[in-house]
């Protein structure tokens, strides 16, 4: 009798890129839900716009590059990229902002480098940084969280703002938007105000920024779930948050009126999202186990210094991209130790 032959191992694979990506999307749900609760429908509109445009750009690039559409579109990687970019953008941003960001991310950062698995830089963060540098005004107009803002918008009203730029009659931007806690912290400490006074403002909450801290808790919950499910390893999140938190602690102890506490830093801005969802992108990060420790710690250190001493209020995107550059070098210098080699040498 004749049989078809295949290469070993002859077992059904126990994981799949598509399933991994779907698990990441699932882990994004708690943080995203918190974001929609505190910052309104704009968050959801951003996600839908980015995912739609991302899928279109992906399909177009696959067609141009002569790659099969089915397996690559269904792997879900572009949805993850789009979702991550979208939750970093100001809600109620004009519709073209997420579109331009994701198209740049997919076309330039992903496919011009060779598509899935070949991109040197985290596509979502490339898209974010391109938007931040090109459209600083749109990118810094952040909403005040629910409970702090004087008004909120219904879904049709939000859609109107996104697509026409017109607020509902009688409503001003002042009622909706304001400085983010990190922004407030940065500008006011820059003016020499004391932290204890700054934190009296209603934009500050128990841990970090009001509302923001709930988003951070949501990302944290999703991240811990991913570690538990084996979707990501603990190495990068732990070393990133660890290095970031330790630096913040050191500076905070040195001058508590000028440098915010590690808790504030961890639960504001993009620290949690970055640690669990962005720095853990396997393609653009370090892949050796020891390398991941260095990679994560490097992002944590850079993030803290950018936040504290550079011009931008938050530094996750720049920190991740800078460490993306370093990843191949880190991998090169942290090669496999190989079972038995160390004893063999002694």
């Amino acid at each position: 009798m004749r049989f078809q032959t295949t290469a070993s191992p002859h077992v059904a694979p126990n994981s799949e890129v598509g399933r991994l990506m779907r698990q990441v999307l699932l882990a994004l749900v708690p943080g995203t839900a918190a974001a929609i609760w505190f910052f309104g429908w704009g968050v959801l509109i951003n996600i839908l716009l980015a995912v739609g445009a991302g899928l279109l750009a992906e399909a177009l690039m696959l067609a141009v590059r002569g790659r099969p559409l089915g397996p690559f579109l269904s792997d879900g990687s572009v949805i993850v990229t789009a979702w991550l970019l979208a939750v970093c953008l100001p809600p109620l941003a004009p519709w073209w902002l997420p579109v331009v960001g994701i198209v740049f991310a997919v076309v330039v950062a992903k496919h011009l480098y060779g598509g899935l698995g070949y991109n040197l830089f985290n596509p979502a963060m490339v898209g974010y940084v391109v938007l931040l540098i090109s459209f600083p005004r749109e990118m810094t107009q952040w909403m005040l969280p629910h409970g702090v803002a004087a008004a909120s918008l219904s879904l049709p009203e939000a859609l109107g703002v996104v697509f026409t730029g017109q607020l509902p009659p009688g409503m001003g931007w002042d009622a909706l938007s304001g400085a983010t806690p990190l922004n407030a912290y940065k500008t006011e400490t820059g003016q020499g105000h004391l932290l204890s006074a700054i934190q009296q403002s209603p934009t500050f909450g128990m841990l970090g920024g009001a509302g923001w801290e709930w988003l951070a808790l949501g990302w944290l919950a999703g991240g811990l779930w991913m570690i538990w499910r084996g979707v990501i390893s603990w190495r990068i999140p732990l070393t990133m948050l660890g290095a970031f938190g330790l630096l913040a602690l050191g500076f905070h102890l040195y001058d508590p009126e000028r440098f915010a506490s590690p808790l504030f830093h961890l639960f504001s801005g993009g620290a949690m999202l970055g640690a669990f969802f962005i720095a853990t992108d396997p393609v653009s990060g370090s892949t050796t186990q020891r390398g991941q420790l260095i990679f994560g710690a490097g992002i944590g250190v850079l993030e803290y210094f950018i936040r504290t001493f550079a011009g931008y209020p938050d530094g996750v995107a720049f920190a991740v991209l800078l460490m993306n550059i370093a990843a191949p070098l880190i991998d090169h210098y942290t090669p496999a130790r190989v079972f038995g080699r160390e004893a063999g040498r002694s």
Binding site: M1, R2, F3, Q4, T5, T6, A7, S8, P9, H10, V11, A12, P13, N14, S15, E16, V17, R19, L20, P68, P71, F72, D75, S77, G114, G115, L116, G117, Y118, S233, P282, V283, G285, T287, T288, Q289, Q292, D331, P335, A336, R337, V338, F339, G340, R341, E342, A343, G344
Partner: protein, 538 residues
């Protein structure tokens, strides 16, 4: 039993076990059916040299082929019959190639001969003779590696063996031949261990068995109690693939980390599969050569699952037919386990010393090669790798053709091809396949380099020879010229003597001429036939 401290190797995998399908029934003895095809190379090393002629009748246990070289093993007849051919026949090989085989047509009488003297009292026999016996009996590693056991017993010169490790881990899913062997013939296994200890003068024997085989462990412990040998310790080890890889098993049992480039014997460990130990016992104590082995028939494509003691050379199709055949939806036939075994293109290949399992998978269980997605560098392969390699990096090396880096920096040759990396890869990349390709490519290049080096050597030797001959000729000519010159110079002074000599020669020639003329006249016409004959002779 005292508690044994166990160690954990890096990585590993918990694949679905599928052991219970085949380990519930006793080993059945397969009766000889069909023609037996015995490949001359069923082991690592040089193929055996046939010592029987086509048409010859042989008896069970008779040697059909002798070991050819140190790393080689003989082949014996599993039953009596006629040698009908010594020819190329398809053998179990991933590429389905053919190799020289002795073809034996059984006569059904199964007449045996005693080829070796049984040595029940082996302790009185010199280790070197026991080693020779193991070699003559054709015993090779029955765990699947089929390395000639006698070579391993010879150890590494200057490094004494302190511990014999008997490998009963059987970590591959589906396979249960060692499980059944340990349950049913525990004493043979342990006695084999004792013989091996005697041969290499070891003072300890650790038997490692995965804890998913409690019956085997109990049977071994019972046998150990009967033997009452304090040197033997039965150790239950955690079930995790690949605990049955030799270096990994030694690590689990002792904490020693031995890389692939170091032989275990260099560190005082000698590893043998439990089935090999039992074969050593049969060869020494009963004087039986290795002519049968236990094969697990299992999988969703197999009608009846179980273990069979099979005469070597029996065709897989004959064995499977005897065991009840395939299910109608059988789609894949694998020799060995699902992790490291290879798919057979045909079942018309013989059962060899390496065949521990025939795994038939029905269509729903037979994975087809999926379209691999690009590597996303998630590192699952590296986390699972039991030798701490970076398979994702090796993949890049192999794809880029950077074999130098694969070998030197990324330690390609440490890979034991356990298959975990490919099994956990979310992009479904056949990683092991790439690594085999890279290894073959490196071997090929080395061979070419060797060839080129040889050619260069030959060319240089030829040039040197031509140069030397030229020099010698010139030297000779120069010598001759010098001689002639010297003679010329001497000539004048010696010419008187030469004239005298010349005259003597002239005289002699004339005498000879006269004699010849006289002879010619007397023989003329007397013997013409003879002359013609002489002419014809010339």
């Amino acid at each position: 039993m005292n508690e044994h401290t166990l160690h954990r190797f890096p990585g590993g995998l918990h694949p679905e076990q599928h052991k219970s399908e085949s380990n519930g029934t006793p080993i059945q003895v397969a009766r000889v059916a069909g023609t037996l095809v015995l490949p001359l190379k069923q082991h690592i090393g040089a193929a055996a040299r046939p010592v029987v002629a086509v048409g010859e009748r042989v008896l069970r246990n008779q040697a059909l082929a002798k070991a050819d070289g140190f790393v080689s093993a003989p082949i014996h007849a599993p039953t009596s019959g006629i040698i009908v051919a010594i020819k190329e026949h398809p053998v179990p090989h991933p590429s389905g190639l053919s190799a020289p085989c002795v073809v034996l047509e059984p006569d059904g009488r199964d007449e045996a001969m005693q080829v070796f003297e049984p040595w029940p009292n082996y302790a009185a026999i010199a280790p070197i003779l026991l080693r020779e016996r193991v070699r003559e009996a054709g015993v090779v590693g029955l765990g699947g590696a089929v390395f000639p056991s006698a070579v391993k017993l010879a150890g590494t010169p200057g490094t004494p063996i302190h511990t014999v490790v008997l490998n009963g881990a059987e970590c591959e899913p589906y396979i249960t031949c060692d499980d059944r062997l340990m349950r049913e013939r525990a004493e043979e296994v342990l006695r084999g261990g004792q013989i091996i200890m005697h041969v290499v003068a070891a003072h300890k024997c650790l038997v490692g068995v995965e804890d998913n085989k409690p019956e085997a462990i109990a049977a071994l412990r019972k046998a150990a109690a009967t033997l009452d040998d304090p040197r033997i310790e039965i150790v239950a080890i955690p079930t995790i693939y690949p605990s049955g890889a030799e270096k990994q098993l030694i690590h689990v049992l002792t904490g020693e980390r031995i890389s692939r480039e170091t032989r275990s014997t260099e560190r005082g460990f000698l590893g043998h599969n439990v089935a090999t130990a039992a074969a050593v016992y049969r060869a020494v104590v009963h004087g039986e050569p290795l002519t049968r082995r236990i094969v697990t028939l299992t999988g969703s494509g197999m009608q009846h699952k179980g273990n069979w003691e099979v005469p070597l050379g029996m065709l897989a199709c004959d064995l499977i037919a005897q065991a009840g055949g395939y299910t109608p939806d059988v789609a894949r036939l694998i020799l060995g386990g699902p992790m490291m075994g290879f798919a057979l293109g045909s079942d018309e290949v013989p059962v060899t010393k390496a065949a521990n399992c025939l795994l038939a998978l029905a269509a729903p269980d037979a994975p087809v090669d999926p379209l691999p997605l690009p590597c996303i560098r998630c590192g699952r392969c590296a986390e699972g790798c039991p030798v701490e390699l970076q398979p994702q990096q090796l993949l890049w090396d192999a794809k880029a053709g950077d074999f130098e880096r694969a070998e030197k920096q990324d330690s390609l040759f440490e890979c034991i091809e356990c298959g975990i990396c490919a099994a956990v890869c979310p992009s479904h990349i056949p990683l092991v396949h790439y690594f085999r390709y890279a290894k073959t490519e490196i071997w090929q290049r080395e061979r070419e380099k060797d060839k080129a080096a040889q050619a260069r050597e030959r060319f240089e030797a030829r040039n040197a020879r031509i140069e030397r001959e030229k020099r010698e000729r010139e030297e000779m000519l120069a010598k001759k010229r010098a001689q002639l010159a010297a003679q010329k110079a001497e000539g004048e002074t010696a010419s008187a003597a030469a004239d005298e000599k010349q005259k003597a020669i002239q005289d002699a020639l004339e005498r000879a001429k006269a004699r010849k003329a006289a002879q010619q006249s007397s023989a003329d016409g007397a013997r013409p036939a003879n002359t013609a004959g002489n002419a014809a002779d010339q």
